[in-house]
């Protein structure tokens, strides 16, 4: 009649003193995931393709932030240099490489972004080898006491920055002519073209904005995360999941999805260990794609 007692270890794990910090950490990590996902979902929403070069661009930006620090530029300051620089990179890639090479065929666009990913990743591998690099910013291990738990300063800064970026993006999309043009192209490409909107330019601006998002994410990550030629991949696979969860092309979906996945990952590695936590994310991902590919927040496809 009596239930076997739960093992002591599970009781310890279930105690709020461990769960709450894990959830909080998940939210903070999830914010950076959300930023990476934001770039991905923006490009999907307008160009209707998945940018397979997103992860490689994130890695490239992480290297850029790493080397900026070697020249004495703090990663948080580097945001203001790297975001415009990577906007330009993204703009040029879409305008000069992806657009012309793909001849307007979606399947070709996918392949070209994959080709760009392969080139960037392996050029970095060739130049810097597989070595893992880190930087030592003075605030890397500083934390703030919230009474019930400590929160690392870099993570808190990251969290705040992500919402600032989301706000700026929303302002651009809502109030500027470029933003209106982007929304018009996303809704009705042919109509927008007929109304005199330069679609190739809008595509390139969107791609540039998506790339600027990963540049900012890279600057937020570098203080606490390592850099190597495949560092970006881990984030992008998670970002794919988030984008699918939140609905392809949905900005609020990417934000909420990012936070949810951050918490899921944090809790599942608490209960099942790190590598199985990752499998958990992929299973959510596949299940989402199969059951409701339009996402929790997206319109039914």
């Amino acid at each position: 009649m009596c239930h076997p007692p739960l093992p002591a270890s599970i009781l310890v794990v279930l105690s709020p003193a461990i769960i709450i910090p894990a959830i909080l950490n998940g939210l903070l990590t999830g914010a950076v995931y959300a930023l990476v996902a934001l770039g991905l979902t923006l490009v999907y929403g307008v160009l209707h393709i998945i940018n397979f070069a997103h992860g490689a661009l994130l890695t490239a930006a992480m290297f850029a932030a790493f080397f900026a620090y070697q020249f004495g530029i703090d990663p948080y300051v580097a945001i203001f240099l790297l975001a415009p620089a990577f906007f330009a990179v993204g703009y040029a890639l879409q305008r000069l490489v992806i657009g012309p090479a793909a001849h307007g065929d979606d399947r070709n666009m996918l392949l070209v972004t994959l080709g760009i990913a392969v080139i960037i990743e392996n050029a970095l591998l060739y130049a810097f080898r597989a070595d893992t690099r880190t930087i030592d910013v003075p605030y890397a291990f500083q934390s703030i006491d919230f009474g019930f738990t400590f929160v690392a300063v870099p993570r808190l800064v990251g969290f705040a920055a992500v919402f600032a970026v989301a706000l700026v993006l929303w302002l651009i999309m809502t109030f500027t002519d470029t933003g209106k043009a982007i929304r018009a192209v996303a809704k009705e490409k042919v109509g927008a073209e007929l109304a005199g909107i330069d679609v190739a330019h809008v595509y390139a601006v969107t791609f540039g904005l998506g790339t600027a998002c990963v540049a900012i994410a890279a600057c937020l990550l570098v203080p606490t995360y390592y850099v190597n030629p495949s560092a970006g991949n881990a984030f992008v696979l998670v970002a794919f999941t988030i984008v699918v969860l939140g609905g392809m092309g949905s900005v609020p979906g990417a934000l909420i999805g990012g936070l949810v996945i951050g918490v899921v990952e944090s809790l599942s590695s608490l209960f099942f260990g790190d590598s199985l936590g990752q499998v958990g994310i992929f299973l959510i991902f596949i299940a989402m794609l199969l059951v409701r590919p339009s996402g929790l927040f997206g319109a039914r496809a």
């Binding site: 070709n108 996918l110 392949l111 994959l114 392969v118 060739y126 590598s275 199985l276 499998v279 199969l290």
Partner: protein, 325 residues
């Protein structure tokens, strides 16, 4: 039978190579290139003829490699039997992924993503599961006897992989000439129209995925026997997913000889990059990526299509000259 003559000629030419060339380096190069050509033909059936671009064909390659290796090492199954079961396992994985994805109507970007995710799930699972040897991988014991599917001579391996490639070429040709092939191409060109014409789109695509999975898995089985070692990064790694789609696209997507031609070109370029730069990792893949983009930009039908275009252009020019002269 006339349709199969080009295949017979090409295979016969390839078959004479070990009689003339005895360099192990050259034979090794050709064996690996043929293995990639075989895996690429698998991708080509689904991606080239059917227009379903998979970014995760490692799922099939790795399943073939692991099943062959594990059956021998852990269950003492004969290597040839293991090979056959490995191919069947690839077909089964194809059936499962096909049933899941095509029944829920995934296409385009979504399909590419979900195949990639399946390959990643398999890779991560294989890197922790005890049966695959987890992080250490599975080593097949050296046993140089024909019944163990191991041979002292590289030439024998060469002829075996060539025979498999020949079979895959014949299968591609058969599909091209069959009603099934016509349906498949119809699905590629316009899925909604194909559906409207009464083609059971999901079934056609799933069938293509089963054939595709089996062929790519055969290349994985061969990998295990040739290198006698499998781990999660090799078997389910992104490198194979990428090489497998590069070869048909560079050679000529949706053509019988595209994967074979593409594999030879891609592997030669990779080898060239390695000669120029020493054994530094990465540069061969940089070259692959650049060639992929250039081919898509300038000869969307691949190098075979490009050659045909160039020949037409030359003939037209010669015709014009004759006219003027």
């Amino acid at each position: 039978m006339k349709a199969f003559t080009p295949i017979a000629v090409v295979v016969a030419l390839f078959a004479t190579v070990p009689l003339v060339v005895h360099s192990n380096v050259v034979l090794n190069f050709l064996v690996v290139a043929l293995m990639i050509a075989l895996a690429g033909q698998g991708w080509n059936i689904l991606g080239g003829y059917g227009g379903q671009y998979s970014f995760g064909h490692a799922a099939f390659f790795g399943t073939g490699a692991y099943v062959t290796a594990i059956l021998q090492v852990r269950y003492g199954v004969n290597a040839w039997v293991g090979f056959a079961i490995g191919i069947a396992a690839g077909a089964l994985v194809g059936a499962i992924i096909g049933a899941l994805t095509f029944r829920s109507g995934l296409r385009g970007s979504y399909f590419a993503l979900v195949t990639l995710a399946f390959a990643e799930v398999l890779r991560i699972s294989a890197s922790v599961a005890p049966i695959t040897g987890a992080g250490v991988g599975t080593l097949i014991k050296l046993d140089l006897r024909a019944q163990a599917f191991q041979f002292q001579s590289r030439a024998v391996f060469y002829w075996i992989i060539l025979a498999l490639v020949a079979l895959s070429l014949a299968i591609a040709k058969l599909i091209e000439r069959s009603r099934f092939g016509v349906w498949l191409v119809a699905v590629r060109e316009n899925e909604d129209a194909a559906q409207a014409l009464g083609i059971d789109v999901a079934t056609v695509k799933s069938a293509a995925m089963v054939i595709s999975g089996a062929i790519t898995a055969a290349a994985g089985c061969f990998y295990a026997q040739y290198f006698l070692f499998v781990d999660s990064g090799i078997a389910y790694g992104t490198w194979i997913s990428i090489e497998v789609l590069l070869t048909p696209i560079i050679g000529g997507v949706g053509t019988v000889f595209g994967p074979l031609f593409g594999a030879m070109v891609v592997k030669a370029l990779g080898e060239g990059a390695r000669l120029v730069t020493g054994d530094a990792p990465g540069l061969d893949l940089v070259v692959y990526g650049a060639v992929l983009i250039l081919v898509i930009a300038f000869t969307p039908r691949g190098l075979i299509g490009g050659l045909a275009q160039a020949r037409q252009w030359l003939m037209r020019r010669r015709g014009a000259e004759a006219h003027h002269g």
